[in-house]
Assembly symmetry: C2
Homo-oligomer: 480 residues x 2
Amino acid sequence: MRLSIFVAVFAAAACAGAPPASPLPRALPSLEAIDAGVATPRVAEVDAVLALQSAAAASPRAEEIVRSLTTEVGARIAGGPKDAAAIAWAKRTLENVGLKVHTEAVKVPHWERGDESVEIIGGGAQKLHAIGLGGTVGTGGKPIEGDVVEVPSLAALSALDAAKVRGKIVFVNAPMRRTRDGAGYAEGVGVRFEAPERAGEKGAVAAVIRSVGTDRAMPHTGSTRRKAKVPGVALSGESADALHDLLATQKHARIKLALGARWLLPADSANVVGDLIGRERPDEIVLMGAHLDSWDVGQGALDDGAGCAIVIEAARLIAAAGRPPKRTVRVVLFAAEEPGIAGGDAYAALHAPEVGKYVVAMEADSGTSKAYGVRFLGGPSADASWDALAARLAPLGIARLDSRASGGGDFQELVTRGVPVVDLRQDEALYFDVHHTENDTMDHIDPAGLRQVAAAYATAAWMLAETDADLGRAPVIKEK
Amino acid sequence: MRLSIFVAVFAAAACAGAPPASPLPRALPSLEAIDAGVATPRVAEVDAVLALQSAAAASPRAEEIVRSLTTEVGARIAGGPKDAAAIAWAKRTLENVGLKVHTEAVKVPHWERGDESVEIIGGGAQKLHAIGLGGTVGTGGKPIEGDVVEVPSLAALSALDAAKVRGKIVFVNAPMRRTRDGAGYAEGVGVRFEAPERAGEKGAVAAVIRSVGTDRAMPHTGSTRRKAKVPGVALSGESADALHDLLATQKHARIKLALGARWLLPADSANVVGDLIGRERPDEIVLMGAHLDSWDVGQGALDDGAGCAIVIEAARLIAAAGRPPKRTVRVVLFAAEEPGIAGGDAYAALHAPEVGKYVVAMEADSGTSKAYGVRFLGGPSADASWDALAARLAPLGIARLDSRASGGGDFQELVTRGVPVVDLRQDEALYFDVHHTENDTMDHIDPAGLRQVAAAYATAAWMLAETDADLGRAPVIKEK
């Protein structure tokens, strides 16, 4: 794939009478060259993109940024003890890469885990490797006990006679599929979000789910419906299998769980915004986002330290090229994505008046593996820009996908208001082994993946900020 | 391998004028046949062994026995709240399979884990997936903190300048090899046993080790030296890697740990003994052992519920054949192996006067995977018996190994007093994924493996109890 670009560069350069371009790495003469009239815009664009991609491939900065966040701050649940330290880190890091920084206050949900214990008691007694779902209610200072009713899905739970559930603990044992494109997570996450509420509606005293994750080792947290009727916890695959085995053979299992979880008053936090002001159209914004908060386990290295690092490094690469693009490249590190997109929604509300000036938005929130595909959503006028961008991403091994972009979690409000989005789709086959677990730590970073993804975001942001093209408005998608 | 036996049976039967034997399964006419003089002893032996092995292959009992122990009792640390329940289970289970049962009181070490927490604080803050080593001292009601000094081995710890260790927490990061024959465990277990004592000698405030296990997911407990100078904990491979990564990149890590562990007064427990009294030489004992206690995590399903089930099922198969062998087949379920072979040592001390009457001892304590080899240790007079036994184990896929048998943990005292031993070597490649972890649960049982191993113990015990041969005395092995 890479070869075709070099051939194109070579051919264009040869036509202009210049010597053949040497492949890698390339310096950055081309923007000045086009100003001086010695290169065509087409050659300048190709040269600039190659220079960004070469610089990204040689840069350890994305990895260093994740490392800095995980070691200097660590896990940083919204509203928790590290929230302010995370904001301070974001401000200085964005400033250090050459962006103009401000913060925007956000009130964020504030939930605290407290102590947790989950065990099988009586026949087959064992501790279970479990974690409370994010935002679960607690057990009120004392343990809850109940016999276990196992179902393989939410649908099966809905079909249960309430008389069989009353006073029991529902166990939803639905394994998640390992997929490259995250489809397994999309299928599975409903169990986590809904099980405690649905179980409570049937009269259960608690819900236990098999973790929405692809490993067998660790329990995975993640948000469940707020104010769900009963407490909810996730088991590791191992513990889910042990419980299933017990029920299959002994026909009976009883669980005791104690959760110290509690909801506190909303806390003060902030979105952190860094701008590389456009040289010609400063009010038009090419937006890259990631979320600064994490869950309270592990270090939030992949979720979403990696995304923060990717968009910061992409902006740094563009800033380091020496001349800002025409439009403003903005990085926003959002508050409180995990407990319900509080930062993203606040950002959309605050900036609603100028939403027409948002050219495109791109979120990074998929770990550190390489991007394999790109997809777009914009107006009809965007097609030529998408074509050009797809051609520049191809040498990174990123294919254009047929499906429409949907935008990241933090951009849902902007998308519904018509802001075009680009989705760089990273390989998520391994991501859900550590996602929302104690193992979301620095040693699971894929440094080569980080560099490639940063190169892709830099490419996309630079091209869409440097063009004068109107990308139109995203159509309103009616999800079935 | 199986074919040669059938050829031998056929040939012997043909010589005796009987019709050719049909292969499998076989009923058990042969013991009566030999009494009636219609079969040669050789044919009877082969027939009896084949019948035992066929019965074992068709029997779900070994699995049921582990299931019964794990579900009715569960984890059963020596001296702990389930110790008495485990003894009661052992008595009724041994009686149920037709053995004459008695108990022998043993004072056992009594250690309690209490609450535990281990975390990196400051730079790179994260909780570590850790477990206190069995028998560790606690931290005295308050947390201990220290900067971390990493070493790759005990030897490297010994080589450290004490000035560099004083006040620090030593981290011994030695990965364990995955091997079929348990060599990786033998190499690795010294770290667990010695690290807290050695670190304390150097002035460290605590020792942290990479778990002696082959998975990356779980922390593994297991005994450390009693009265070691400082607390010791084991990290999961994941957490060990995360700590190593932090130290490699940030050159600094600080750990806080709090262990509620404490030693209590020795507790009352018992070895549980079940006999199938020999029909001709009742005072001569063929001994099969396993340990009834477990650690306090998981269910003690593989360690050593499986071993208990194997030796009980082997005795049951022999008892069910209808006529006891010449010698007594004894099953002993030992107390308190994990915290230091208390039951095995007490048994050897109590029975020292009649040690000359112990024909052979065999322990089962290696999980549920199939046996691949057998090895022997006895006097020169035992060679013909070993040859005959090896020939009968071969059809089960069990090869004779060149190395000498060493006997299980509970039989070390008996071996030093000259009791011959047979080691049935099970495949341990997967065993140390769950050994001494919360995942040592029923769902990790290999039912086919259990049946094969029970068949092997039944074969060995029956043959050595039915023969009149003197197996001699085990030579005193001087370990270097």
